[in-house]
């Protein structure tokens, strides 16, 4: 066991000639909230997607709760079930109701009965504040509601950790808050989270640690207060100057 939920060692990923990740190491402790920031193209999404092997790294190792991520097949699927993921574009299953979105994987992957899965799903929908929307199709919901449903869908698997790749970037500004509120609640409840985001306020207030990436490398990592107030690297300073001036 130990207290490391996610361990990344020597991760490399290239797309053709382009190196997207260069020798990345990262540890995320049980219950820790790590926010990953950095300029566009710095490899944040790629790192996030390597953590559940939606992207296959060229070298390096990822361990979840001590177990190395298997390369493929059923074993990989089983491990993925323990790591929830929330996407920028929600990716709710368009042909199923919100409730069915939440029950599909618990029934098919975890082997829950339909009744158990529905009970859990309704609790979670209430928890993220969209209990009334259970019977609707995703397209009938607002962006903020869809993203909250997507978070509930990930939670329905009772994951050990949650990955967020820019969960609020596709939302209208007035809906960002409702999603960040849900995420803040999860963090308070002790969920292990890796969050790629441009929401510096969230990083400052909720993160236990900030990881700054540039050009496929982890350039700097530290507690949010220290990082935002006195970044150690020039690149982090430049980046913060740009994003915080807006």
């Amino acid at each position: 066991m130990g207290d490391r939920m996610i361990e990344v060692r020597g991760l490399h990923k290239r797309f053709g000639d382009h190196v997207a990740l260069r020798d990345v190491d990262l540890d995320v402790a049980r219950g820790e909230v790590v926010v990953v920031i950095g300029p566009s193209g710095s490899g944040k999404s790629t790192l996030c997607r390597c953590l559940n092997r939606l992207e296959t790294p060229d070298a390096g190792e990822v361990r979840i709760d001590g177990a190395p991520l298997p390369a493929e097949g059923r074993a990989l699927a089983r491990l993925r079930a323990d790591v929830g993921m929330v996407f920028q574009s929600f990716n709710l299953f368009q042909h199923r109701t919100v409730l069915d979105n939440l029950t599909l994987a618990p029934v098919r992957v975890r082997g829950l009965s339909r009744a158990e899965a529905e009970e859990r799903a309704r609790e979670l929908l209430d928890r993220v504040g969209i209990g009334e929307q259970a019977g609707k199709l995703p397209a009938q919901l607002s962006g903020g509601q869809q993203q909250r449903a997507a978070i509930a869908r990930a939670l329905a698997m009772r994951p050990k950790a949650l990955l967020f790749d820019e969960p609020t970037s596709a939302l209208d500004p007035e809906m960002v808050g409702e999603v960040l509120d849900v995420m803040t609640g999860l963090a308070r409840d002790g969920m292990t989270m890796v969050v790629v985001t441009h929401e510096m306020g969230f990083a400052r207030q909720v993160a236990d640690r900030v990881v700054f990436m540039a050009d496929g490398e982890v350039v700097e990592t530290g507690a949010p207060a220290a990082f935002f107030d006195s970044p150690a690297s020039d690149r982090a300073r430049d980046f913060l100057a740009k994003v915080l001036s807006h």
Binding site: L54, E72, R74, R78, L79, D82, V83, S89, Q94, H95
Partner: protein, 214 residues
């Protein structure tokens, strides 16, 4: 008009066989098409290759050649099947190749995020295909599948060439007795038009019912 009314039972029997051939072949084609399309998008290279060989082989030889080959060739290698059964199987496999291509285009039209979300939840590739991708893919290709259904109906006429007395063969027999080709074949043609009209209506209804809200 008497040429038609005098031979109503022959026309009726032929029409029934045509409808039977069409429905059974279509059901088979749908199964074959979905299986082959799934093979063509699978992560297993051998399956992808096999799916491609299937489609290319079936599509690049005329259906009539396949029918003749099956009806006369299969008994040579000891496979005995009735003419109707052989025809259904051959037409199903042949139309299955076209169905596979239509279904595959539907699969490609489903946003990649859908499959990623399914896999991120722990569904295996076959599960995500069956539960998430295909249900959405099939809904987007109702129209092309309707065209394949009409093409299948028309192609059942080729079974006449290997001795199945479906509508076209029945009309031909009546004509041999009566020598009134215009009346007889216009009647057969109208029956085909009515059937394909029915398929068109069914397709339209299905498409409206199954449209996905995005």
């Amino acid at each position: 008009m008497n040429v038609i009314t005098d031979h109503l039972s022959e026309f009726g029997d032929g029409l029934l066989l045509t409808v039977g051939l069409t429905l059974l072949s279509l059901a088979g084609a749908l199964v074959a098409g979905v299986v082959v399309a799934a093979m063509r998008v699978s992560p297993v290279r051998v399956l992808r290759a096999a799916g491609m060989v299937y489609v290319e082989t079936l599509q690049n030889v005329p259906l009539l050649v396949w029918l003749v080959l099956a009806v006369f060739g299969l008994p040579e290698i000891g496979v005995m099947a009735g003419l109707f059964t052989s025809s259904v199987v051959v037409i199903a496999l042949y139309q299955g190749a076209y169905t596979a291509e239509a279904v595959r285009s539907g699969i490609n039209a489903v946003p990649v995020g859908q499959g990623e979300a399914a896999r991120a939840l722990g569904l295996t590739f076959p599960q995500s295909l069956r539960l998430v991708i295909l249900p959405q893919a099939l809904r987007t290709v109702v129209q092309p599948l309707g065209n394949i259904a009409i093409m299948t109906l028309m192609n059942t006429a080729l079974a006449a060439a290997v001795g199945v007395v479906e509508l076209t063969a029945a009309a031909n027999r009546v004509n041999l007795a009566e020598a009134r080709p215009i009346w007889i074949f216009v009647t057969a043609g109208l029956a085909y038009m009515a059937l394909s009209g029915a398929i068109g209506l069914a397709t339209g209804t299905l498409e409206r019912k199954l449209a996905i809200l995005r």
